[in-house]
Symmetry: C2
Subunit: 452 residues, 2 copies
């Protein structure tokens, strides 16, 4: 999916990965537009003055900002930042464009790259210095309208994870400590990663209140000719989601791709002993047949590799269905069908291919979601004492526990859990990298008992 | 279409302009994919070492490169460039991915932003420090395959200008002096701008030969097990095209948008004397009717503006069709239809709207192209002496003239024409900004007599 690059923290998204991103773009963009959002493009450069206008916001981002100081061989008069996000780039224009209640709502979105020069260990997709995302920024006349937008978007994000990426989410609100720098509140989709037993943030949608409006002086005249500050939202979905999807579905043979986002959904492998013209002709016909059905299909007719090599190659790349065509299959007017997600092998009659392959792709999509949800649900535990809490954490669970949303209390719980699990690990002789018992606040679930 | 921004040379693409870009993206992307090109994403950062690897190439871009030297408050160990184009970013990976003739062709494209920190006077769309584009980079086993790709892409670019943007182009090759830095040859679409009587480059598609392959050591084993360098192409279409379209079609009332790229194709203006419920209801019904037809329609029912203000407002924004609904029209079961491109006004029966509005949009699209082509063709002159050449230039024409494709000779013609026209203008007391008589080489047309 990715290729490494000479600059640390930057990765190349190869077509396989970029295809997932294009599918996500199509899915979300359609929903945004249906909800009255238009696309636009703001510059990626921002001056220090604009960037620093909202105090909490700049504190959140300052350490990770990349600065351009030179062009050609000339020093710039003022260093210029590359966007880590675009609130401070966009809102001065909102002040120019919004005058009356008739100018609201103003709902804009952009698909861009952003830069956050992190110093933690970089990880493909998950922690990268440049990444791709969409960022939506809307302005409303009332806090209720802003709330409504925040939650519509959160629903789209959840649908994108569940329907496209086959990843179940828990919707909720972030704690005060974890919310977006400068936001009134932050809503989030949280995922569960079985491999390390930890939660990971899927995407966030923020109610900004009137905080930025006051800083950037964005107000409108309401119906009673009174001046009011606008209510704002911002929300983003990034290529990080691809990494989360990979972590949720992969197995020890490599990637497992949900059919809806797989660049190649079906790979055909002819089982030939060199130059078997009959089988090659049959696979070519099958290729055309599936293509006509709208299936994304690839025929691996390379002569210099044997079938076993090809099986491994396409398993590693996560192609949902492999179809093998050998002499025996051909004689029986059948093909052999192998599922990547669970390894199931079956014979399929030629006459059934048209109806069954598209159905099987949908079944795999559903099964992948159901399996991920079952695993997630079995790692969703309640705890009401500290001992229960630590047990659940160390058992690689997401823990539902009562709390006060107090910043100090949250910090204490994080520190204490980290300390205790470090001790446990030292005793067991494990590496800190493996640490699971350290608590991280995911969210205050919208519906605690049935997270979906 | 755009909003000014605090950083010089950077502009905001508002939804109206971005819609044009999205339409172009859809149009080209589909054609690229049909031709076997996949999308991907490479980082926007590049090290000095990689950027400088091809000598002619870096000489072409070095003065305009923006450099990141700081992250947060830390100086970077090595300054890092922001891509002005991605040849030097992508080709090291091509060297990793290409080994055998079976790995070819490798056809990748990306939709990105690029930065060229120009110091000339910035102009929205046309000369901006950050702009959006697609850049395609393909690798082939033979120079013939590369040629074929170069010319397919040039055809797509020409189709995009002519079919979407209603702008006629002249296809041809760039001179040695004007070709892309590091290319074997450059093909181009050239446009004619009536307002200033000058040509402007539409988009270019380059045959890179084996030049970059040798620098980046990208070779493959051919069918005879011999090592050969790959043949490459690169090609780009940018948001500059939107500026060219604006210059070709605008008039003194403002923008004129071709229907196929207009965010709003039809605006409905009710002609009411305050609170005329019957007319408002009729315009709402008409709005729903057109929406159902798939027309991009907007109902301007703002109460605080009079119809005359609205007419000007939407003319300025270039909306192709205005529909007015007044009491008299309603009584006759008609609407008044006004074309933006030529000002034609006509009455249309309610019963004809379903069939005639979509047809009219197509007719406007065609008429805009035909009109632009007629003007362009009438400014396409042949010249075989220097005097004829200068006369044609000063008459705001594109000039077809025999020449030798010698760099020195080209430079002389440019200098001499500039000198002579400066003198002419001084005598006439005109400003240098108006200069038209200075020659610029556009291209060696593929078909000189019939440029289309």
């Amino acid at each position: 999916m990715i290729e490494y690059y000479e600059i640390s923290g930057c990765y190349i998204l190869r077509p396989l990965a970029y295809y997932v991103w294009e599918t996500i773009q199509g899915f979300l963009d359609q929903r945004f537009k249906r909800n009255g959002v238009s696309n636009c493009y703001f510059p990626m450069f921002v001056s220090q003055a604009a960037l620093s206008k909202e105090k909490d916001h700049i504190e959140g981002f300052a350490p990770e900002v990349a600065w351009v100081t030179r062009s050609g061989t000339s020093e710039l008069a003022q260093p210029i930042a590359i966007r880590p996000t675009s609130e401070t780039i966009m809102y001065p224009s909102y002040a120019k464009w919004i005058h009356s209640h008739r100018d609201l709502p103003l709902c804009l979105n952009q698909w861009t790259n952003v830069v956050r020069w992190e110093f933690k260990h970089p990880t493909p997709f998950i922690r990268t210095r440049e990444f791709l995302w969409q960022e939506g920024h809307t302005a409303h006349a009332t806090t209720e309208d802003a709330d409504k937008m925040v939650y519509s978007i959160l629903d789209y994000y959840a649908e994108c994870y569940e329907e496209l990426l086959a990843v179940p989410v828990i919707k909720g609100r972030k704690s005060e400590e974890e919310k977006f720098a400068g936001a009134y509140y932050t809503t989030t989709c949280e995922l569960y990663v079985p491999a390390n037993g930890r939660g990971i943030q899927g995407a966030t949608s923020h109610q900004l209140g009137q905080n930025f409006a006051k800083m950037f002086d964005v107000w409108f005249e309401n119906k009673n000719k009174q001046k009011e500050f606008i209510w704002q939202t911002s929300w983003g979905f990034s290529t990080r989601s691809i990494g989360s999807m990979v972590m949720v579905h992969s197995d020890n043979k490599g990637l497992v791709l949900p059919p809806r986002v797989a660049h190649i959904q079906v790979v055909i492998v002819p089982i030939t002993q060199k130059d078997n013209a009959e089988i090659l002709a049959a696979t070519e016909a099958l290729y055309e047949q599936l293509k006509k059905l709208g299936v994304r299909v690839y025929l691996d007719d390379r002569e210099n590799y044997n079938p076993g090599f090809k099986f491994n190659h396409w398993e590693l790349k996560g192609v949902p269905i492999r179809i093998e065509v050998g002499k025996k299959d051909l004689d029986k007017q059948e093909v052999r069908v192998v599922r990547r997600d669970n390894g199931d092998k079956s014979q399929m009659k030629h006459s059934d291919i048209d109806s069954e392959i598209p159905q099987l792709l949908e079944r795999i999509q559903r099964d992948m979601f159901d399996r991920a949800k079952e695993i997630r649900d079995s790692h969703y535990k309640e705890a009401s004492t500290w001992a229960e809490f630590m047990d659940a954490l160390n058992g690689k669970n997401i823990v539902l526990t009562p709390w006060c949303n107090d910043r100090e209390c949250e910090k204490q719980a994080k520190d204490k859990s980290k300390e205790e699990s470090l001790k446990l690990m030292e005793e067991a002789g494990e590496e800190e990298e493996q640490l699971t018992g350290s608590a991280k606040t995911l969210c205050i679930p919208a519906d605690p008992k049935t997270p979906l």
